[in-house]
Symmetry: D2
Amino acid sequence: MGRATERWAYLGPEGTFTEQAARALAAAAAVDLDPVGTVSVALDDVRSGRADAACAAMESSVEGAVPVTQDELTHGAPLRITAETYVPITFDLLARPGTSLASIRSVGAHPHGHAQIRPWLARSLPAAAAVMTASNAAAAAAVAAGDLDAAAAAPVAGARYGLDTLVADIGDVRDAVTRFVLLRRPGRPPAPTGNDRTSLVLSVGNHPGSLLAVLAEFASRGINLTRLESRPTRSKLGIYYFLVDADGHLADPAMADVVAALIRRQALLRWLGSYPRAAGLNDPTAEFATPTAYADAAAQVGRWQRGD
Amino acid sequence: MGRATERWAYLGPEGTFTEQAARALAAAAAVDLDPVGTVSVALDDVRSGRADAACAAMESSVEGAVPVTQDELTHGAPLRITAETYVPITFDLLARPGTSLASIRSVGAHPHGHAQIRPWLARSLPAAAAVMTASNAAAAAAVAAGDLDAAAAAPVAGARYGLDTLVADIGDVRDAVTRFVLLRRPGRPPAPTGNDRTSLVLSVGNHPGSLLAVLAEFASRGINLTRLESRPTRSKLGIYYFLVDADGHLADPAMADVVAALIRRQALLRWLGSYPRAAGLNDPTAEFATPTAYADAAAQVGRWQRGD
Amino acid sequence: MGRATERWAYLGPEGTFTEQAARALAAAAAVDLDPVGTVSVALDDVRSGRADAACAAMESSVEGAVPVTQDELTHGAPLRITAETYVPITFDLLARPGTSLASIRSVGAHPHGHAQIRPWLARSLPAAAAVMTASNAAAAAAVAAGDLDAAAAAPVAGARYGLDTLVADIGDVRDAVTRFVLLRRPGRPPAPTGNDRTSLVLSVGNHPGSLLAVLAEFASRGINLTRLESRPTRSKLGIYYFLVDADGHLADPAMADVVAALIRRQALLRWLGSYPRAAGLNDPTAEFATPTAYADAAAQVGRWQRGD
Amino acid sequence: MGRATERWAYLGPEGTFTEQAARALAAAAAVDLDPVGTVSVALDDVRSGRADAACAAMESSVEGAVPVTQDELTHGAPLRITAETYVPITFDLLARPGTSLASIRSVGAHPHGHAQIRPWLARSLPAAAAVMTASNAAAAAAVAAGDLDAAAAAPVAGARYGLDTLVADIGDVRDAVTRFVLLRRPGRPPAPTGNDRTSLVLSVGNHPGSLLAVLAEFASRGINLTRLESRPTRSKLGIYYFLVDADGHLADPAMADVVAALIRRQALLRWLGSYPRAAGLNDPTAEFATPTAYADAAAQVGRWQRGD
């Protein structure tokens, strides 16, 4: 008897970039993907056990951090990142089979999508009405239902709603990409692979030396930060959290050492998880931060303490 | 003959929070407010001289930095911040005069607005359809035109479109506030008031010590940072700019000193301006960073150099 | 049957400040004090097992570090400091019983002693010849032997050589004091008392950030340095070691942590020992550096690593 | 008519390493060298105008800092270093012409000199008495006067007192060298040569971050320290000054900048002078610390302040 099929929640509807990310994360595994109404619902499904995991957008090269994911990870009941993937963000003009470009009178998309396709629309379909929808995929669904002539949406939405791609890649930002993460209930992190990432939420006092002192803890242990995202508290401008991605795994002595130091300083709000890095390679570990360096130094101190 | 009336551009339509901010910034001055289609158009109007200034949202306590403003200030032709103001973000349910709550079948708002009123709608108007619009004010306009029953929008939109407030403050985030700035072509900054703010864009190399070294330049001169906002480049995840707000004015010796140090380190991408702080008070200047401390030290060094 | 009497070596002759220090360190214990010809001989006696311990001057408030002790501890076969004591340095004018001040024609002392009594001699015995001796105690011995009229030496030398104090405290430095240490072969350090000191030799690369990085390791763990003594290598100006005294005991987690970090950075040449502080009180341990803070943080990291 | 001959004071008697240093510093200039009884007298002669300059030992590769010079420069009426030179320290066995090695029964030297020749004496003249003198040159004078058989002293002492070198270089430290400085009354420093050194006395508070903050001021301006010498106050162990040698001249903008910063922080007790470096080459100036980098940054800040 095999392992039970997992259920993963994600922000629907079907045909979004998030679905595309979830499929990439699932890879060959048998996973039931369940579109839900909001990111918060997806995460609550994990917390309550209704889902095994949730796939959510973390940051976009165009829009920056995704506020709802950041805030849920910072303030909601704890979840852990166990995997990540990158999805290139491109917009296709989707329509029902047989539609000609010339016949299009209305184009639906989320306002953010419209912001990206406005130059193309102005050039190519200047007479078409721009119709706002709750998501790009919702626009594709409306096209399938006959309520709109065309939608600007992820390529996956065409397959999902039985639409054709009239024109591919009509957005005006080249190389846009979004990072998605897989979130699970707290548990043992994935085993280290040698090319891992650790995500943290730091809570830094608002006097000038505070952030400096916290960053120095990473630098003094040779730990590279690949991301430092400030995040205001939800209701007060001027007070910030920092979402940090750092090279390495909590199982690495240098990472365990810096995390312990942050705990002692009361600067660590959350450890969000350690997981394999999906793209790029960590810088080589500094000689003074390798597991061997840690083990040798600890052994030496122990010998001195005992008088061996 | 008086001073000519200025023309200020802002992201329309009329009835948005941005209009409210522009009115607050104009105060008693005679200013023609000109709603335009995008933030970028508003800023280009200033650059080209079609407008004297533009009012734009800079950061929200809920959504964080406003990407388009950040990117325009970082990458577009240079503009300078000369003033700032804070606008509380509240949503009113607006409808044509005489409309009863029970009769509302459709409620329009920008998807971000819908995100904030969803709990209220679910409780109070569970049967109403949520209609997406390009802005909350566009929803108010649609209500005025009879295309929608109600809109969730800024209080100012009611007055603007002849609508009544059926229910005030239906959003689910308390104390949400957005900071708006006034942008002008480069020129002499406003005179120091003693409670000023300086905004900068830093470009920091991606090895761990770089940000540390840059933050240390501020700390060693006793300069407090009230905001540190990482911002990815538009097309590459993992490389960041930092938008920084610091206490003080470029006319202050300590601020001039740190700005010069950042220039020497090639860490300063942009000086965005020095301008009166709209809320809160700067921390008192450290004794070693006062204008007197700077003048005394420079005088002493000069005497030693000359052998006086 | 009692514990065997220990033999301690010290720089003779009898009647020096070093003997005074050794007596203070021995306190009530039965110790045979053995004066030897040089500090190096005293330490070699410990290394070879001919002596159980050696008492040596470490630093003087007037002359600074004692080079031979510093160099032996840095470069010689390893020894450990297990105790310290402070001896006030005062010079008495010693002569054979019955000698009158007016009859004194020669005053012996080490050249350093002469440097300190020169003002008094010029005022009080302007006609007396200043005779140099290998130590102040050697001058006292010469007085006892009838070769000199008077000696400027430690009060203890009077008793030792049967001399009278003609005038007490004739040196021109008030409150001069020398710190002496007790040195033993490597072994288990004395148990922590809660008010301990740890001595280290650091080897710091000669680029500007090196010392900074090393000092930051102490500061980030809240460890106070009570002494930082640079010491050139024996034959090259411009390359330095640093002899450091720090508050705390190697058995304290924060001290063990910083010592391990220094080992990893290859910045620790020697751990010279942890031992009770003889004067003054350590600053209270910072909250983030207490044993409890260390234990709690390590426990939390362990739980996360295991997925508990 | 030429420039009047200067008078330089130095610690006598004639025939010391200090005389050798003074001759090197005088080079071709006509200088009257005046041996005086103590370093303090030499410096007071300069302060009072009785001498134009004084030559004094600053640090030795064997003994470290010279306390009396350090203390005079730190606490006495201000003097400035205007030149430096290095003298190799070697000991010759000097005797009256015609003396055979076998006939030597007494060898004079300062106790420090005896410490260095003890191994040679033990091997080569085990029966000779070690006689202490106030200086090595005083031993040479005593040999000339017939009071001693031989002296261990600087080679220059042989010529000075008409003695022959029986054996050259009998000390046991290879490559020992002492740095001497020329001290003058405060005035315009020597013009920068491009390879200069600046000497400072720092007064650093005794909490752990203080020294760190001060060293960071140098590091952040790319200024290399070639020497960092802690120095206790004269009467209190545990409180330190730091004598610092740094690459560069007070006329260099980066050095002027760090000196001003130290003044503002009240960490600069004394500027001891800027003068040509006698040996070795400064590291190349970091790109961000060149005069051009300073001038360009200051010009840019000025343009922004004025709104150009």
